[in-house]
Amino acid sequence: MVVNTMSRTVVLGVIGSDAHVVGITILEQALSAAGFDVVNLGVQSSQKEFADAAVEHSAEAVLVSSLYGHAEQDCQGFHEVLEEANVDALTYIGGNLAVGQDDFDQTRATFEELGFDRVFDSETDPEEAIAALERDLNITTTESEQVTVTS
């Protein structure tokens, strides 16, 4: 288990009308175990709920999950909402981001264009996302070297 000396807050949730809860439940556990303070908004969270929580908890990262294939639609204008609320946090998105997607590079480009810092597919292990987060937030851990990052 990776334990950090300094505690960082991340906001986590499933965007849109999506009710897939298993992924974020496990991600919440993994983030907590890795030493993060996690604000879990749960499923069916709106763009505004993400922004409000990020402001309230001074989050350093906003992690968006979407598994029902309508992520692109649900994330239109999301970064503008964050900007208006003066949220200056990393933004990650992961899950089944497009219906019947064949080409993940294409999907990644789409979501990077929308403003996300990192884009993960549904096969991504929690460890992988956490390792990326630690790198992006310049958190040094004794074990992070062992984790293979493929993003």
């Binding site: 288990m1 009710a19 897939h20 809860v21 298993v22 439940t25 496990i26 556990q29 993994a30 175990a33 749960g42 499923v43 069916q44 929690p126």
Partner: protein
């Protein structure tokens, strides 16, 4: 605050009239005429009688398409080619959200274009006439399956339309399905549904009610599912329902699944009033399926085998196309026939597995802890108790999207593949039982040479779709 009390007749009438004014088709409901209609149906379409008098598990698939003629064709196919004993009519999502206007648009588009613009059969829009046309066309009993938090109008119309079985309940159609519906709100609404079913029952038309046992479908510990089944069964019984089918979703460990189905029947009989006829339904694996029809058939085969040993009254089957979503009628029918073959080959065999009694005993003890806690939380009232227990976290469902449940409990499989509780959060449970779970999970951790952690949970969630029961660490980890 609402309590577990029967809705008075005048209140029933008042709500009924209010509800039926919610959509044009509601006006056509005439209770007396509906009773006469049900009485006119042949014995082989009387759901409760057919189910309760069967001498082996009856098979039922899932199926619903928007147009009436298509639905008739689909159910006829599943009855004739799939040899389903009982048939379903699955309702569309708009109806589940009480958006009858949107359902109407979808239905009209479906009628014009022939496309399936809805993901189910909008029974409210089809109205009593449409429902009855379906009931008359199919030579078997049909159940309404949906996932609707407020199913009052759906119940009023489908009951009057000739359906005699109705899935769901205030917890089981809330916690796993929606985020923001309050539990008190859904209990109140389902009290009406049950009271209406009770009104038919009083007149000799026993509407079968079936709480949705699999809940979130993801490694739900049997005792949690059984406690919720008992609560929903009790709520229905209070309102006058006399035919109740308690549900349970396969976890994949044969001993635990057989023990759980035994416990479900035993505790159901014990907790529910004597005048209720309690039956059980076993759902084939509701978690993620392998993205491969051949492997999916293996999952279905294990489900059939479990059913042959546990002998529930009903089995809801899966199809080899489960991974990709709604199956073709051929795949749906294939799932029925694969299940049937396994059950028919195995059911006459005496297969008594060691350890079922012990596992059943553990499940019963756990369930009694939860039930005691619910009664305590409610000072003897099961409605208040359920609300308070969910509120305090003493009752919880893993992976629940609903705000009404903590969703803080986390399950993991032990070394034998049985579902145990890894994270108890505030779930009410004897320390002795918690110790048993801890010891079993510790044994698994030893086998795998790793600590007990959420990684086990994560690995277990994906295990069956990856081809195993237990999410063991991979060689390259």
């Amino acid at each position: 605050m609402i309590r577990d009390e029967r809705i008075p007749s005048e209140e029933l009438r008042r709500i009924d009239e209010e509800i039926r004014s919610g959509w044009t088709t509601g006006g056509a409901v005439d209770f007396e005429e509906a009773i006469a209609y049900h009485e006119s149906l042949p014995a082989r379409k009387q759901f409760a009688d057919v189910l309760e008098s069967a001498d082996k598990p009856l098979l039922q698939p899932r199926a619903g398409v928007p147009r009436l003629d298509d639905q008739i064709e689909l159910l006829e196919y599943l009855h004739e080619e799939g040899k389903a004993d009982l048939l379903p009519t699955t309702i569309d999502s708009y109806t589940r959200d009480n958006e009858y206007g949107k359902a109407e648009e979808g239905l009209e588009k479906a009628r014009k274009t022939g496309d399936d613009t809805l993901n189910g059969f909008p029974a409210v829009n089809h109205g009593i006439e449409g429902c009855r046309e379906l009931i008359e066309a199919i030579d078997a009993p049909i159940e309404v399956r949906h996932g609707t938090p407020d199913a009052r109008l759906l119940a009023a119309i489908t009951f009057a339309g000739g359906f005699q079985s109705f899935e769901g309940g205030p917890i089981s159609y809330n916690i796993p399905y929606t985020k923001r519906h309050g539990l008190e709100e859904t209990i109140e609404k389902w009290q009406f549904v049950d009271r209406l079913a009770g009104a038919y029952t009083e007149r000799g038309v026993r509407i079968n009610r079936e709480p949705f046992g699999p809940l979130t479908g993801t490694l739900v510990p049997p005792s949690i599912a059984i406690a919720i089944m008992i609560v929903e069964g009790q709520l229905a019984a209070t309102q006058g329902v006399r035919s109740i089918t308690l549900g349970y979703g396969q976890v994949g460990n044969v001993v635990q699944d057989v023990a759980a189905l035994n416990a479900l029947q035993k505790l159901g009989d014990e907790y529910l009033p004597d005048e209720v006829c309690v039956t059980t339904v076993f759902h084939e694996w509701m978690g993620g399926f392998p993205p491969d029809e051949a492997r999916a058939n293996g999952v279905i085969g294990l489900g059939g085998m479990t059913a042959a040993i546990a002998k529930p009254d009903k089995v809801i089957t899966k199809s080899p196309q489960e991974f990709q979503g709604v199956p073709t009628k051929e795949a749906n029918s294939a799932g029925l026939r694969t299940t049937r073959q396994v059950i028919d080959m195995a059911i006459e065999q005496k297969i008594d597995i060691d350890g079922i009694a012990e596992e059943q005993d553990l499940i019963e003890r756990e369930t009694r802890c939860l039930m005691d806690s619910i009664f305590e939380h409610g000072d003897g009232d099961i409605v208040r108790g359920t609300l308070e227990a969910f509120d305090s976290g003493a009752l919880d469902v893993p992976f629940a999207p609903s705000d009404s449940a903590r969703g803080a409990v986390l399950p993991a499989r032990d070394d034998d593949g049985r579902v145990r509780i890894f994270e108890w959060a505030d779930l009410e449970m004897d320390d002795e039982i918690k110790e048993i779970h801890r010891a079993r999970l510790s044994q698994r951790a030893d086998t795998e040479g790793r600590d007990q952690s959420f990684r086990m949970v994560a690995d277990d969630v994906d295990a069956i779709s990856d081809g195993k029961l237990i999410g063991r660490p991979q060689g390259d980890a």
